[in-house]
C-alpha cells in the first residue's frame, strides 16, 4: 500500500497541526457500530401507522378493479387509498418540478406505465396487517403489450441527456478525421439496466401537525426536497422539516423526489396520524430510478503512429414512456482522449419502464465501460500496448475546447498505477498467461474520469465563550464520511482541534448544505464551512488587534494566524492569546460567522475541471468453466486535495467494487412478454459479496489545484466506477482472446465463443 499523501502544504496546518489531511476515523463510527445511528425507518412516533404500497404487476395498461372491501375487512386496516379517494395534491404530478423534478406516479389516475408503479396504498395499525391488506386488493388489469426492448420501443431525438447535458456535441470535422485515418475500428456495446439497491430501502416517516410537516427520510438534497414537498402539499417551505441524519446509501436514488415517498406523506395527511412507509426490496425496481440501459457504438480512426484522428461515440438510452432521462454515456468521449475530431450523440428510446435517473457516475460509468474497451481494441489494432496507446493520445488540453485543465495528474496516475501493478511485464498477445493452477490470466486497464463540480452551499460557524465552536450546514452523509471530512475542514478554518468542534448537519432547517451528488459535496459544503470558520476568525482577529490589553494589539497590518484555539501574531509566535480570553475581555458570549460556496465563474470558464485516474485489473478465468474472477485491482487517482485519506480510500474501493459489479454481475432482466423484472431481489440481482472482491489497492496521487476552489478539493465518490469496468473487460479479453461487448460479461458469453 502506498503511503498516504496529501496535496496541500499551507504553512498554518503544518505549524499548528490541522486535522484536515489526516486519516481520522469516522466521527459517527461509534453510533454506527452500536446500532445507535438512526435511519429513517428506525423512527416510531406516537400513534404511528404503517403504510404499504401496492405495486402494479403489469407494465402497460390500466387498473380495472381493486377489491377494496376485502382489504378493508382485514383486521387492523385503517384506510385503503386509491385514485378514487386520494386527497388532492397542489402540484400536478404529471408536470416536472424545477430544477430536477421528475414526473411521478401518485395515484393520479388508473393508468399503469411500468411494473411496480404504485396503484394503491394500504394503511394499517401494523406492518403485517398492511401487507396482508395490500395482497387482498387483488388488482385486475386491462393489459396492453409492453414495449421492452430495442426492437419494439419508440426511438426519438432526445433534446438533452442526463441532467441538462447536450444530446449532440461535435468538435472538429469528423468526416475529415476518418478520411485521414489509416485504420478505423468500430464496435457496438451494450450496458444493461442496473438498480441502485442501496442497502436501506427508501423510507419515510411522515408526521403532520396542522400545516407543519416533519419527515424522517433518507435524502441527498434536503433544502431542494423540502421546497418540492411544500409545493406538492401546498404549504410554506418553512413548514417542512426533513431530518436525514444517516442514509443507508444513496448513489443518486435518494436525490430526486419519487412517488412512494410522496404517497407516504399523503397517507399521513389523509388518515391524520403519523405514517411510516418503507419500500420492499422488490418495490425498489421501478419507482425510484435506475441506470438506464444503453446501446452504444464507437468508431475510432487512428493514424500510422496510433494517434486518434477521429472519435465518434453514439448512444441510444432507454427511458420511460412518460419522462426523459437518457444516460449521457457518449459524453464521456468528450473528456478524455485527444483527437482532432470528436462527436458524441444520443438518441432516446421509450420503453414501458420506470424512469431511469442518475446512478453513481451517471453517463460516465456506462460511457467509460464502452469507451475504454474501444480504446483497447484500437490499441490492439495498432499493435500497441494499451497504456502506450493512451499516452500517445493523452489530452494535454480539453479535447473539445482546447481549454487548459485546472490540474491533471493523470500521467502520474498511469505511472504509479502501472508500477504498483507490474504492468510493464504484460505480454501484448492475449491468452498467453496461466497461473500455477492452469487458470487463464489477463491484465487490462482503463482510464478513470469524472467532473468535479462545486455547488452553491451555505454554512454557519459559532465560536463560543469557552473557545469551542458549533458549525452547521444542512449537508448529507450517505456513507462518504461527510460528518467527518466536513468537520475537519471547519476545524481547520477555525484553528481548532476536531474534538472542539461540534458539527450539526442532516436537517433541512440548517443553512443550505446543497446536494450530496456529483461527487461535489465536500468541495461545496466544505468550502462553505471553511469560509464560515474563516469569517469567525476574521471577526475575532479584528477584536484582538484593536484591544490595547491584548498581546496582539496593533498586529493589524502584520496579521495573525489561528491554531490550537489561539491567535498568534504572524511574525512573533510568542505573542498569542486564546479565543476564550479574547472573547471574555470583549464581553462577547459568542461570535457567529457565515460562509458560502460557489465556483468562481471566471475559473469555470477558463479551465476544464475533472478528477482523473487509472485502473489496472487482473482476472483469472477457469479454462473449463470460463468463470471469471477479479484477482487484483489497482487504482491510482488524482482528485485535488485530500481531506481524509482513510475515507477517500474507502470511496475509491467502493467505486472500484461497483466497477466489478458493472463488469461481471449486475443486470436487471425483464420478461419480454410482461415487462416484469425477473430478478427484482438481492438473490438474483447480483451485487458483489465479500468473496467477489479481491485485495485492492487505491493510490492517492498528489495533485494541487489552485483553480477548482480555494480549498483545491475535487471529488472522489464516483470516479472509481469509471475505468474499472473497462479494465476488467479488457483483462477478460487479455486472458481469453474473446471480446465480450455486452455487460455484464457472463461465463456463457465466453463458453459460446471459446
Amino acid at each position: 500500500m502506498s503511503p498516504d499523501t496529501q496535496s496541500t502544504t499551507i504553512p498554518r496546518h503544518v505549524r499548528h497541526g490541522s486535522n484536515a489531511g489526516q486519516p481520522v476515523s469516522r466521527r459517527d463510527g461509534v453510533l454506527k457500530v452500536t446500532g445507535a445511528a438512526t435511519y429513517a425507518a428506525d423512527n416510531h412516533p406516537e400513534g404511528m401507522l404503517h403504510a404499504v404500497i401496492v405495486p402494479s404487476t403489469i407494465a402497460r395498461g390500466r387498473v380495472r378493479s381493486l377489491d377494496v372491501s376485502a382489504a378493508k375487512a382485514h383486521p387492523g386496516i385503517v384506510e385503503v387509498i386509491t385514485p378514487e379517494n386520494r386527497i388532492p395534491l397542489h402540484f400536478d404530478p404529471n408536470d416536472k418540478m424545477p430544477p430536477f423534478g421528475f414526473r411521478v406516479e401518485v395515484l393520479q389516475d388508473d393508468s399503469v406505465r411500468y411494473v411496480n408503479q404504485p396503484i394503491a396504498v394500504v394503511v394499517a395499525e401494523t406492518l403485517e396487517a398492511a401487507t396482508e391488506g395490500a395482497r387482498l386488493l387483488a388488482p385486475r388489469y386491462e393489459e396492453e403489450l409492453p414495449r421492452t426492448d430495442l426492437d419494439n420501443g419508440e426511438r426519438y431525438d432526445a433534446e438533452a441527456v442526463g441532467v441538462g447535458a447536450p444530446a449532440v456535441t461535435t468538435a472538429g470535422d469528423i468526416d475529415a478525421g476518418f478520411a485521414a485515418a489509416t485504420r478505423v475500428t468500430e464496435a457496438e456495446y451494450y450496458t444493461p439496466p442496473q438498480y441502485h439497491n442501496a442497502m436501506e430501502p427508501h423510507a419515510v416517516v411522515a408526521e403532520w401537525n396542522g400545516d407543519h410537516l416533519t419527515l424522517d427520510m433518507p435524502n441527498q438534497a434536503l433544502r431542494m426536497s423540502a421546497a418540492s414537498y411544500a409545493q406538492y402539499f401546498g404549504i410554506p417551505v418553512e413548514n417542512v422539516l426533513i431530518r436525514s441524519p444517516f442514509l443507508g446509501g444513496g448513489f443518486g436514488s435518494k436525490a430526486i423526489l419519487n412517488g412512494p415517498q410522496i404517497l407516504g406523506i399523503l397517507a399521513a395527511r389523509q388518515v391524520g396520524r403519523p405514517v411510516k412507509l418503507v419500500l420492499t426490496r422488490a418495490q425498489m425496481y421501478g419507482p425510484v430510478g435506475h441506470r438506464g440501459r444503453t446501446w452504444q457504438k464507437l468508431r475510432l480512426g487512428t493514424d500510422a503512429e496510433g494517434k486518434l484522428t477521429a472519435l465518434h461515440h453514439t448512444s441510444i438510452g432507454a427511458t420511460s414512456s412518460f419522462d426523459d432521462f437518457v444516460e449521457p454515456a457518449a459524453n464521456t468521449s468528450l473528456m478524455l482522449y485527444a483527437s482532432p475530431a470528436i462527436r458524441a450523440d444520443h438518441k432516446g428510446l421509450r420503453l414501458d419502464i420506470g424512469t431511469p435517473g442518475p446512478m453513481r457516475a451517471p453517463g460516465e460509468a456506462s460511457g467509460s465501460a464502452a469507451l475504454e474497451v474501444a480504446i483497447d481494441e484500437a490499441a490492439q489494432a495498432c499493435g500497441m500496448d494499451p497504456l502506450a496507446f493512451r499516452l500517445a493520445n493523452y489530452a494535454e488540453t480539453e479535447p473539445t475546447s482546447g481549454r487548459p485543465y485546472s490540474s491533471k495528474a493523470l500521467r502520474e496516475c498511469y505511472e504509479q498505477g502501472a508500477a504498483s501493478f507490474g504492468w510493464s511485464n504484460r505480454p501484448l498477445e492475449p491468452g498467453t498467461m496461466r497461473d500455477e493452477n492452469g487458470f487463464l490470466v489477463g491484465w487490462g486497464m482503463g482510464t478513470a474520469v469524472f467532473p468535479c463540480p462545486q455547488f452553491p452551499a451555505e454554512a454557519r460557524a459559532t465560536l463560543r465563550a469557552d473557545g469551542t465552536a458549533l458549525v452547521e450546514t444542512g449537508g448529507v452523509d450517505m456513507g462518504q464520511g461527510a460528518w467527518t471530512a466536513l468537520a475537519q475542514l471547519a476545524a481547520e478554518a477555525l484553528g481548532l482541534d476536531l474534538d472542539q468542534v461540534e458539527f450539526h448537519s442532516g436537517r433541512s432547517d440548517l443553512p443550505d448544505g446543497g446536494v450530496a451528488g456529483g461527487s461535489g459535496h465536500t468541495a461545496s459544503a466544505g468550502q462553505a464551512l471553511s469560509n464560515a470558520g474563516s469569517d469567525v476568525i476574521a471577526q475575532l482577529s479584528e477584536i484582538a488587534v484593536n484591544d490595547p490589553d491584548s498581546p496582539l494589539f496593533g498586529a493589524g497590518n502584520i496579521g495573525v494566524v489561528a491554531g490550537e484555539g489561539r491567535l498568534y501574531r504572524r511574525d512573533d509566535e510568542t505573542r498569542s492569546e486564546t479565543y476564550a480570553e479574547i472573547l471574555a475581555r470583549a464581553g462577547r458570549a459568542e461570535l457567529v460567522g457565515s460562509g458560502k460556496s460557489g465556483r468562481d465563474p471566471a475559473s469555470a470558464d477558463r479551465f476544464a475541471m475533472n478528477s482523473h485516474g487509472a485502473v489496472f485489473a487482473e482476472v483469472k478465468v477457469d479454462p473449463a468453466l470460463m468463470q471469471v474472477k477479479v484477482t487484483r485491482l489497482v487504482g491510482a487517482f488524482a482528485a485535488g486535495r485530500v481531506i481524509n485519506p482513510k475515507l477517500v480510500r474507502s470511496q475509491y474501493y467502493g467505486g472500484m467494487i461497483w466497477g466489478i459489479s458493472f463488469a461481471l454481475q449486475e443486470e436487471a432482466l425483464a420478461d419480454r412478454r410482461t415487462g416484469r423484472i425477473m430478478n427484482a431481489d438481492l438473490a438474483e440481482y447480483h451485487v458483489p459479496v465479500n468473496a467477489d472482491v479481491p485485495e485492492m489497492e487505491a493510490i492517492l496521487v498528489p495533485e494541487v489545484d489552485p483553480h477548482v476552489s480555494p480549498l483545491g478539493i475535487k471529488g472522489v465518490g464516483e470516479i472509481g466506477v469509471t475505468g474499472t469496468v473497462g479494465a476488467i473487460a479488457n483483462a477478460v479479453w487479455h486472458a481469453t482472446g474473446i471480446r465480450v461487448r455486452k455487460y455484464p460479461i457472463r461465463l456463457e458469453d465466453l463458453l459460446a465463443r471459446r
Binding site: V30, V33, G35, H44, Y653, A691, V693
Partner: protein, 169 residues
Amino acid sequence: MSLSISLAINGRKHDVALDDPRVTLLDLLRERLDLPGTKKGCDRGQCGACTVLIDGRRINSCLTLAASLDGAEITTIEGLSDGEDLHPVQAAFIEHDAFQCGYCTPGQIMSAVGLIKEGMAGDDPERVRELMSGNICRCGAYQGITEAVLEAQRKLADREKPATGKDAA
C-alpha cells in the same frame, strides 16, 4: 389472538404477548421492542442486514418467526458492547473503516461475532471473505470488513489466552 413468548434479549428478559402470529423476529425487535439497531435490507434472507445471534448462532431475523422462539437467547447489535467499552469487533470496524453508510454494519458485526465463535475461518482472509458473504455491503466496505474481522479475532484470541505474565499485553 395473542400468543405469549418469553425471550432473553441482550441479557434482559422480555415477556412478549404477540399480537399477531405473522411477526418476524426482525419486526418484533424493530417495531415492537424499540430495538431498531437491527436493520431490514430485503426481508427475504438475501442480504444479512438483519443478522442477530440466537443462542449464539448467527441467524437472519427476517426469516425467523418470533412465535417460534420461546425461551431463546438473543443478542442484537445494541447488546454487544459492555457499556461504553466496545466489543473488539466493533472497535476494529471503526479502526479499519469497515463501513460507509453503516446500514449493513449491525448485520456485518453480528455475523463477524458469530463467525469468530464458529472458529472456521482461521487467519485466512479468503475464508473470512467466503464466510462473511451472507452479508451484502452495497457501499463496498469489504476490504475493511475482512481486515477488521481478522484483527478482532486475533484480539479475542489474545484475550482468552491464560495471562502468562507480560505477553498478555
